[in-house]
Symmetry: C2
Subunit: 455 residues, 2 copies
């Protein structure tokens, strides 16, 4: 890769994490939301176009493969994110499109192919949030009784990525000749089987889609456990993470960046995007009042069920105004390890009752919630960005569409005025927005060599 | 379902089967095609909008899960069809969107969910062409050495459909209460686990997407073997089939329709759509000349490779102007049984050399090819439709976009003038276009009953 000739000022990156009526668990009950539209494409179209109007780097849809007890008290659309993002690709021009797909319950061939398709369809705007999934309810929709053990999930994830990248690289960039005269569409020396034979997967290849505009989708990762961070350092180009305080954010940032050289990568190869749930008001009092309104709309049973899941501990029936019971250790958690630890520490540090903890988690499920004016929010982002805690942010509006509109209309212009954020898209692809290079194709050794039997 | 009060004249149905530069295997070499656009969304957008301009019932994308030797001599986009159709959902209003998904290499939970998503996104326009896949190359992309045996594939397909329909029915139509005041989004008595415990699948459910506009996608099937026809009679609402002559078409039509009562279904519950590859000219001579041009552009190695696959017999090196070698019996074919028989009989009946057979299969891979004027084509369609061979047609333009434009601009108006085809969409959903009822939800017994341990 040629080095950039003139250094550009460091700019922060913004991803809009979109979900149902908003990230606050009571958002759907608030008059500023439209929960009747969570299965309406035009609703998501409006959200995507709003984020694009704000010149954001990307939008993101999370995913889970089971309903859990969630739905009784929370509006849920439940669209499969790749399907939804493909639909949004045609009504947007520039913004990146990131979808969660779990490596635990999918096949690398399908996943590689779908992201290659989305990358073509969107002109190079696809991103993959690689997750290992965290619940037994998901396993039970795929013929398994219990969820695969945490470290085995990451083993499988690593091999999954190895196969997927081989498949994306199974076509050279210049494989298509399109020689009508001679009747040769593809130079078949440049499209080769991958012949992967591993512990979890046996895949012949090649992929049945030509190499896509970005080579492959932007690889995003969102697990913050020890295994998660190591996986991120090896593969991820962007990391979503929940961090409660600047100090936590700084130490996570340093930790992950320090792991990169061991994998032959540099600091700039991976962008760290902590989550922020911005509760925006034109005055601080108004912001706080909105936050309180949302808290007042919470359904305690729902909060308790969510919390039971995060803590791997059944909390039903415990007094809301009492303290947390004894909790297990992180090593005994087989779900989301890092979230367990974050929540347990938050409760311990601030001495919270169950009710208080449910209120604190309502906005962002462990992500940082900040209520204030657009200027105060911009100050927070700037602080984290300049103090070594973030390369950008995963913006999680507490209520939609209003919370996103407010962010785009009131916070983004301040960031732009301060020279911290782009005023126009300069690139075309998602990787270009994040300032990341297009990966070179690394085609497997030629077919003849690969097919040869070991002597 | 209330019976319709005034009987409407019987109208035929039209599906546009879209593929790369067209169905003819040499289409991409013809000046009327645009093979450089087969990975360009706008190309498919134009095709979909053209079909919609013609008021067609639906568009359809086939799918295969391996590259085969195909690509050297044929332009291939290779988009995953659900991703592609989701993208097209936003740029069309009425036309149905049918995608192939294989039951052999997928999980029912994912498949049910994706189609539910597409059905929501498109306002009730999703259709699923259920296939069992036919090649060992596909198996080798999913950790299997050989392709699952034909009848086992259909066993798996049946159970797959059972699980998928249970998942689609796991939400009652009126499950969503959206009661903001009480904080109740869903009546959880109306969303229930399916607790499927079968030979191929164990799936807890419920689905994590609300019941979709059509209840579930239109179920299409395209296998014409004995097992395939039986599967169609049990589940399918539309059948794609390759039939060479009116007599073959009539006997297939009768055969499949006669199987319906045994599954408690009536003739009208299933629409039979034979394939037709219309080579259109403003005179008969012009049509024949176009057909010849396409034949002259065929690459014999490609035709021979395709034919080897269809016949389960390696033909490489055989003289093109000689006869076919001895062929296996249908029972020894583990791929596409019905296509094997069709091709073998065609060659035998007409005493074709390899070269002649390759030419005959070039346009439609075994589907009927008819070259003529728009009037002659309309006559053919009318004959099959009125003589008990078809409820409509799977239109397979030999070259794209021109072959579809010609059909829409010149054949459709004749069919409309004859009162055989709609002049405007009257329905909103794909099922409405095909005159099929929305399936009633058949929710599993209540959760308490289902969860009870056997005594
Ligand atoms: C912003 C963000 C988004 C996430 N999205 C998903 C998701 O869509 N699906 C999922 O199963 N897990 C999701 N997770 C969870 C993680 O990806 C990961 O599976 C979990 O943290 C467990 O990993 P760990 O034990 O390494 O922390 C998300 C986490 C974060 C911080
Ligand atoms: C119009 C048409 C479209 C088809 N599309 C596909 C397809 O997309 N993918 C596939 O694997 N098979 C496809 N097939 C093949 C059949 O669905 C089926 O798998 C094959 O015919 C084998 O079934 P049989 O042995 O019962 O005939 C198609 C067949 C027809 C007639």
């Amino acid at each position: 890769m040629p080095a950039t000739s003139t250094p550009r000022p460091r700019r922060l990156h913004l991803n809009a994490f979109l979900m149902n009526a908003g990230h606050h668990d009571a958002a759907w009950r608030h008059p500023r939301t439209q929960p009747e539209r969570v299965t309406d494409l035009r609703y998501f179209q409006h959200l995507a176009q709003t984020a694009e109007r704000g010149k954001l780097d990307s939008i993101f849809f999370a995913d889970g493969l089971a309903l859990w007890g969630k739905v009784k008290h929370n509006a849920l659309g439940g669209f499969e994110p790749l399907t939804l993002l493909s639909a949004l690709a045609t009504v947007t021009e520039r913004i990146g499109l990131i979808a969660t797909v779990s490596t635990t319950f999918n096949e690398p061939f399908h996943t590689a192919r779908k992201f290659a398709s989305l990358d073509h369809l969107s002109g190079g705007r696809a991103g993959w949030n690689i997750v290992t999934s965290g619940t037994a309810d998901e396993a039970r929709n795929f013929g398994q009784d219990e969820h695969l053990e945490h470290s085995l999930r990451y083993d499988r994830a690593r091999e999954f990525l190895e196969v997927a990248t081989k498949l994306w690289d199974s076509w050279e960039d210049d494989a298509i000749l399109l020689d009508r005269t001679r009747g040769i569409y593809v130079d078949d020396e440049k499209v080769r089987p991958i012949d992967h034979w591993g512990e979890h997967f046996v895949v012949q290849g090649p992929l049945n889609v030509p190499r896509s505009p970005q080579g492959y989708p932007l690889l995003v990762q969102a697990g913050s456990s020890e295994d998660g961070k190591e996986f991120a350092a090896q593969y991820a180009e962007a990391v979503f993470t929940a961090q409660q305080s600047l100090a936590d954010g700084q130490s996570f940032y340093k930790d992950v960046k320090n792991r990169l050289p061991r994998h032959g990568r540099s600091e700039d190869d991976l962008k760290i995007l902590p989550g922020i749930c911005p509760v925006i008001g034109s005055t601080e009092a108004e912001a706080r009042a909105l936050e309180q309104e949302l808290t007042d709309l919470q359904v305690p049973e729902y909060g308790l069920a969510q919390l039971s899941g995060m803590l791997g501990t059944d909390l039903t029936g415990l007094p809301l105004d009492g303290p947390l019971p004894e909790l297990p250790e992180e090593r005994d958690i087989n779900g989301n390890k890092s979230r367990f630890t974050l929540v347990a520490e938050l409760a311990r540090r601030d001495g919270l009752t169950l009710r208080e903890l449910i209120a604190r988690l309502g906005g962002g499920r462990g992500h940082r919630v900040f209520a204030g004016t657009p200027d105060q929010i911009a100050d927070q982002l700037e602080e984290w960005f300049t103090q070594g805690a973030a390369d950008g942010f995963n913006v999680m509006p507490p209520h939609l569409p209003g919370g996103l509109e407010d962010f785009v209309d009131h916070v983004v212009p301040i960031l732009q005025d301060r020279g911290l954020f782009r005023t126009e898209y300069t690139g075309r692809t998602l990787r270009e927005h994040y300032g990341l290079p297009r990966p070179e194709g690394r085609l497997a050794p030629s077919a003849t060599a690969a097919e040869g039997q070991p002597a």
